[in-house]
Amino acid sequence: MTAVFLGIPTAPAGVGNLRGDRPFPDAARDALRDGQLRANLGHATTTIRGKRAGVVAEVPDWAELREAGRAIKAATMARLDEHLEELERQVTARGGTVHWARDAAEANRIVTELVQATGADEVVKVKSMATQEIGLNEALEAAGIAALETDLAELIVQLGDDKPSHILVPAIHKNRAEIREIFACTIPGVDPELTDDPRRLAMAAREHLRERFLRARVAVSGANFAVAETGTLAVVESEGNGRMCLTLPQTLITVMGIEKLVPTWRDLEVFLQLLPRSSTGERMNPYTSLWAGVTPGDGPQEFHLVLLDNGRTAVLADEVGREALHCIRCSACLNVCPVYERTGGHAYGSVYPGPIGAVLSPQLTGLSGGTAGNSASLPFASTLCGACYDVCPVAIDIPSILVHLRAEHVEAQERPGAEALAFRGLARAMSHPRLWRLAQRAAGLGRFLARGRPTLPAALPPPASAWTRTRDLPTPPRETFTQAWAREHSRASSRARPEHGA
């Protein structure tokens, strides 16, 4: 069953940050030439890979936790409607207000109106993938409301007028010297002696944001988890900016994808072990805030929860692809991905980069149909090396989903292109031994191009040129193995004979 068949809409174009304007190979080509980017990414991903491996190895029941995490997410998806209704009941019973948003535009409108109702023209934000996805900051800005990112990496990105390139560390593509430069140029009244010592940079952010936290009347956050049976929401963070936003303002607006919930309180005992170790490589992140509705005398007295679809139900309709909704946004797959490590996140054109982005973004936006942009190129942006699956804390089989989406893309083409015709022809040859021997002989003729050299010329026509530009191709042999074997073992006694008809 597919979303198209069921009439379930994907995330709309023209709003939010899920679509790139260039196919992945083109965007990657530019990124690969950025030596500073390559160095920064190589350093950062190597550091975090080592930390994650260390803290995962010390957990004796990691495999069992991972399996439980996978199963809880699968069970959640199987009854997603019931769990959402329960969550709504519980949040409402504890003084919160629940809003539903079909897509990014509707979510942006709801949040903007809620902020406007408070009379505030400034909001503080906790790092949130959902609000990045829907382009909330841009929508608020259009309504004359300033949105201030308070997570250090988000702040770096915002001050640098840049885009996030990683799920956990949006400024992973910047090194300390570049961050010092951004702070020195953009933070009013910053210490002119500011150095690139990470501790000093963190202090500069603290000073810059302190006053803004204290005067903020409205905060916008995402949620890492929501517990359906209790209405409890969870935000996992490190710096304390989350606590500031979740505690000090009068009004809190939380935007959450509908797939983020877990059925029971007990389920958190699994994810609060899986997430920090996979994400920052810590046994536990410094701060986790949990709240249910409104508590008199403690924290925001007005709480709104916006439940966001924006293509998630379309993903849910795909029996293979829906596993991508299990993602808990830890970024472990980005950190081990050999493609991400070299191209960085911007090449993916979406707020969700890396392996999980390559399966999630094109499903949220829809793969099909002649539109410009990069969605259809993302499932091909992988060597299928499998490193992402090994580290995924909820065992999402990303390589299998990538392969599935490649097929969905191919099968959605109305008219076969040159590649499809070639693959069809090859499939026909490979399923008829006699044709296959002829095809092999034809390939063997390639040796005449080599004119006696051990490799073929580098200047071959496309698509072979895409290989031979940087790699030699061996000259095909005079005789294939099976030909030689048949010649040498002409007495057929030792051969297995095909006996079944096609």
């Binding site: 350093h43 029941d61 199987a78 409607d81 539903w100 250090l152 900016n241 500031m244 920090p276």
Partner: protein, 202 residues
């Protein structure tokens, strides 16, 4: 049709008529039978690994230990309303529910905890009288938490089982920190930059 009904309707058609039952196997560890002294050592090790300071003392020495720990912190100390009198340093002010932003005037906060998870070095505050409201453990730059041995459990599942999910909860694992610059952890950003833990056992 309302957005609510439309989203729920999409979910139902996406899942189709047949809802597959998924079994969740909880084969992971839910108990920890290590003896208490060992758990206290693990908790200490984990907290120190996060650059928190751990001071161990007997039940009758909490007040003196807290006072000694705070002696190097210049400025006023605010305590959660449920903190026992014997733990409070001289001159400490009890939180009176003043506007949260006014708590920035204090240099340090003293609270109890609800539960402490040894394996992850995590203290949980549940906004009860001994823990105080959330802003209390957030705004002053130094946080002192008193943990008694009976509050210490081995792993995360045991810790969560002791909590009330309807209360505002704050899980604290070390001083505030960030890994946002080159994925290297540095301590001290917006939350308290100093975390002192007084661990009480016989």
């Amino acid at each position: 049709m309302s957005a609510r009904d439309e989203v729920l309707g999409r979910i139902r058609s996406a899942l189709g008529a047949e809802l597959p039952a998924v079994e969740v196997r909880r084969d992971y560890r839910t108990t920890d039978d290590r003896p208490l002294p060992e758990l206290l050592d693990v908790l200490t090790d984990r907290l120190e690994d996060y650059r928190a300071s751990v001071l161990r003392c007997a039940p009758d020495a909490v007040g003196a230990t807290v006072a000694a720990a705070l002696s190097s912190v210049p400025g006023d100390v605010v305590v959660a309303p449920g903190v026992p009198a014997a733990w409070r340093p001289d001159g400490a002010v009890e939180d009176d529910g003043r506007p949260a932003v006014d708590l920035t005037a204090f240099a340090a906060t003293l609270t109890g905890v609800t539960v402490a998870v040894a394996e992850t070095g995590t203290l949980v505050l549940d906004a009860s009288p001994a823990c105080g409201r959330r802003a209390l453990s957030l705004l002053p730059d130094c946080l002192v938490c008193v943990v008694t041995a009976d509050q210490v459990v081995g792993g995360v599942p045991e810790g969560l089982a002791r909590l009330d999910p309807l209360r505002p909860l704050t899980m604290i694992s070390g001083p505030s920190a960030t890994s946002d610059i080159e994925l290297q952890r540095v301590e001290g950003v917006h939350g308290p930059r100093t975390l002192l833990v007084v661990l009480v056992s016989d």
